[in-house]
């Protein structure tokens, strides 16, 4: 949406410009109008509405009858007769902070691993070898499978009684009794991360591969002529030139990972070790009939993602300019 908006801004008429340019800008506006209108209805309106809901006492049984409730869903307090103060609202809800912790932990670990593996795979696929086209297509399969399907599939594979993973680990003697991967609090998050890494590494690899192919071949040639060690070439040539592509890929994945829902909902539903922000928001909105409370959590989720992305872009840019000056 931002790109469209800046696109429109770029065409905005400057005062004192020629009539032709003004005309072009007007035409551009009309061409963009349907898109902007659609974006307003599918993106801005639902967002604003759920922010509005978060300040009311709406329930699912009475969607249109909610009344203004201020910050009650975010933070309230009540003084008990004993003088103690009791806090309420999302910001005082341990379940919410547990979810925030889970989400951030999941996002950082899974995106980190995906970047690493994605880079390795991209480097491999960038090399010339026979049957490269087929391998490139094959590697995309996990990404092409719908998340629900892959979550179910892995759910069976990770099953403690008839799962193939336990069977394999048992037969090579790595474990001596089957592990209930998705059931145990200490392995549930590992299971989720494994499945997510399996599923989205291809996406990472593809974006990084595109970046790799943008790097001019002659840079490698001149490095080779100068007799520079390949490892050095990777760190001094490939990685810096690849950085913009990686940055974009990471931000896409980070956005995705912070709002992870489907995989966890199917693989480890209700396990407090893996509940993420989206999961608790949905639980409150639908299962517990606390629609406004869930809306407050969605709004906070939006704010947190916004914060992460801003921080990321800001930090990323600082880094880039620093290198540019050197």
């Amino acid at each position: 949406m931002t790109t469209t908006a800046t696109g429109a801004a770029a065409y905005a008429p400057d005062r004192g410009e020629t009539g032709l340019q003004e005309q072009r800008a007007r035409a551009a506006f009309w061409f963009l109008a349907p898109m902007l209108l659609m974006l307003f209805f599918v993106a801005a309106w639902p967002l604003l509405r759920s922010i509005w809901f978060s300040f009311t006492d709406t329930t699912l049984n009475n969607l249109y009858g909610g009344e203004w409730a201020g910050f009650q869903n975010y933070l309230t307090w009540r003084e008990l007769p004993s003088g103690r103060i009791r806090w309420g609202g999302t910001l005082a809800d341990p379940a919410w902070w547990n979810a925030v912790y889970n989400t951030v932990r999941f996002a950082v670990i899974s995106v980190g691993l995906e970047t690493l593996f994605g880079l390795l795979i991209a480097l491999m696929l960038n090399a010339e070898f026979k049957g490269r086209g087929i391998v490139r297509a094959a590697i995309l399969i996990p990404w092409a499978i719908p998340t629900i399907v892959s979550a179910r599939m892995w759910g069976w594979m990770l099953n403690d009684q008839f799962g193939i993973i336990n069977h394999m680990l048992l037969s090579v003697g790595l474990i001596d009794s089957p592990i209930a991967w998705t059931a145990r609090a200490d392995t549930a998050m590992i299971a989720v991360i494994v499945v997510d890494v399996w599923k989205t590494t291809p996406f990472m690899a593809l974006l990084i591969l595109a970046g790799l192919q943008m790097i001019p071949r002659d840079m490698y040639e001149s490095a080779r002529i100068d007799g520079i060690h390949p490892v050095r070439v990777f760190f001094r040539v490939t990685l810096p030139l690849l950085k913009p592509a990686i940055m974009v890929a990471v931000i896409f994945r980070l956005l995705d990972a912070l709002r992870i829902f489907d995989l966890i909902y199917v693989l480890t539903p209700n396990s407090s070790a893996t509940k993420t922000m989206s999961i608790v928001a949905r639980e409150n909105m639908i299962d517990f009939n606390r629609f406004a409370y869930g809306s407050a959590q969605s709004t906070l989720l939006f704010a947190i993602i916004f914060l992460f992305v801003t921080l990321y872009i800001w930090l990323g840019r600082v880094d880039l300019t620093g290198e540019g000056r050197r």
Binding site: N61, L63, Q161, A180, A183, N270, R282, D287, F288, N289
Partner: protein
């Protein structure tokens, strides 16, 4: 007997096909009713057979929309549809605990069902009555049983356990002996330990059977934090990793049945639907098991407790064909349909007289004993906690799951749970 059923199935599907042809010829007056229900076991296949006579009689068509087996998942979807006033679904198959939470979206059936409610168990009809409105008609009831392997018990000279302590001991003994003989996959006891509504049912049974109350009492008081409940949960926690696989903490009904029906469990706690499936042709335990009431706990007020389950049919206020849908609801709750359900699917009827019906008893010999079990069944606290029930249940199953996975002691978990429930209750349940 199974062959006969199969032949009957073939006949009725041929009949259904014929009806479909006739139906499309008479499509002018026939309407299509959509019925949404969770699909456990062979529910989808059975449903077609169940409604065939009604379709034939009325010339209407019924489409089943199958939903996930987990009631928690179903509830979420239904709540959304109902809140959006979705007109695509005419009839909802509702869990016994949902009535207070969804009442306002359903048609009042008091008048339409006036003539037939007396045939049903009064407690069930009462559970579906909210503020004087009958919001759903019972189609079958559920009370879990202890499934046990007759062959293994006989082989190792064990009696059917009547207390949880006996069950623990017997399960451990048979499991050890079988494993020593090389049956490495065998487990003593499988049940439903996943963090979901089913765990609330299982844990409520343990606590109630130890005389530890029913989480929230009918008058609204929170009773869950007591020494007997602690004792019950401690015993259950001791099963995980000993007589029950660790994975039981992720099992719902179907996973437990998976282990059981492949012959890898001595005991199973499950609903009656597993009885006929366990005697199916592809079952490894066919003819090798029987069912008994769940064991009794220890201490004051110890009793055998079975959580009252059961399903009902409710007519959506937003459906487009309410009259026809109502007629189908009445059919599904009728003696004719309940009898067929009992024979084909092993579902417990809510109509009292069917417990003496010879055909029903022939298909399900254990029904005779069941009438009593389920007259003493313990309801989940959905009535006193009203709109907060899902939250109460979620807090409860999370606390129990924590205890079972060894993250918390039972005493600590129940103390925190009590405080959480008090917070939730505030000045009173509403």
């Amino acid at each position: 007997m199974l062959h006969i059923t199969k032949a009957a199935a073939l006949r009725s599907s041929a009949l259904a096909a014929a009806v479909a042809v006739v139906g499309s010829a008479a499509a002018a007056q026939g309407v299509t009713i959509t019925y949404v229900s969770g699909a456990v076991g062979a529910a989808v296949e059975n449903f077609d057979r169940l409604v065939a006579p009604w379709e034939e009689r009325t010339g209407n068509d019924v489409v089943l929309v199958p939903m996930p087996a987990s009631t928690t998942d179903q509830f979420g979807q239904y709540r959304l549809w109902l809140a959006a006033q979705n007109g695509d679904i005419d009839l909802y198959q509702t869990d016994v605990i949902w009535a207070p939470q969804l009442a306002e979206h359903f048609v009042d059936l008091t008048e339409a069902a006036a003539g037939i409610v007396d045939q049903h168990f009064p407690s069930i009809v009462e559970s579906q009555t909210v503020n004087g409105r009958l919001v759903a008609l019972p189609i079958f009831t559920d009370a879990p049983a202890l499934y046990y392997r007759t062959d293994l018990l006989e082989k190792h000279g064990a009696e059917v356990p009547t207390t949880w302590a006996e069950l623990t001991e017997t399960a451990q003994r048979i499991q050890d002996a079988e494993r020593a003989e090389g049956n490495s996959e065998i487990w003593g006891f499988v049940w439903q330990g996943n963090a979901y509504e089913g765990l609330t049912c299982n844990a409520l049974e343990w606590i109630k059977s130890f005389g530890g109350g029913q989480i929230v009492e009918p008058d609204g008081t929170i009773s869950v934090n007591n020494p007997q409940a602690v004792e019950a949960l401690e015993l259950a926690a001791s099963w995980v990793g000993t007589i029950s696989p660790e994975g039981v903490l992720a099992y719902q009904e179907e996973e437990a049945r998976g282990v059981w029906q492949t012959g890898n469990a001595v005991f199973m706690r499950n609903w009656p639907y597993a009885y006929l499936l366990g005697n199916g042709e592809d079952s490894a335990v066919r003819g090798l098991f029987d069912v008994a009431p769940l064991p009794v706990g220890e201490g004051e007020g110890a009793t055998s407790a079975a959580t009252l389950g059961g399903w009902n049919v409710a007519v959506s206020r937003y459906g487009r064909n309410q009259e026809v849908a109502l007629d189908l609801a009445l059919y599904l709750a009728s003696e004719e349909a309940q009898k067929q359900r009992a024979i084909n699917e092993g579902n417990l009827p809510t109509i009292m007289s069917l417990y003496e019906d010879p055909e029903v008893l022939e298909a399900n010999p254990y029904f005779e004993r069941w009438q009593e079990v389920f007259l003493n069944a313990v309801p989940r606290p959905s009535a006193p906690t009203q709109n907060a029930y899902n939250q109460v249940s979620s807090l409860f199953w999370s606390a129990v799951h924590d205890v079972l996975s060894g993250n918390q002691s039972a005493a600590d978990a129940l103390e925190v749970l009590e405080a959480d429930l008090e917070d939730l209750k505030g000045d009173g349940w509403q």
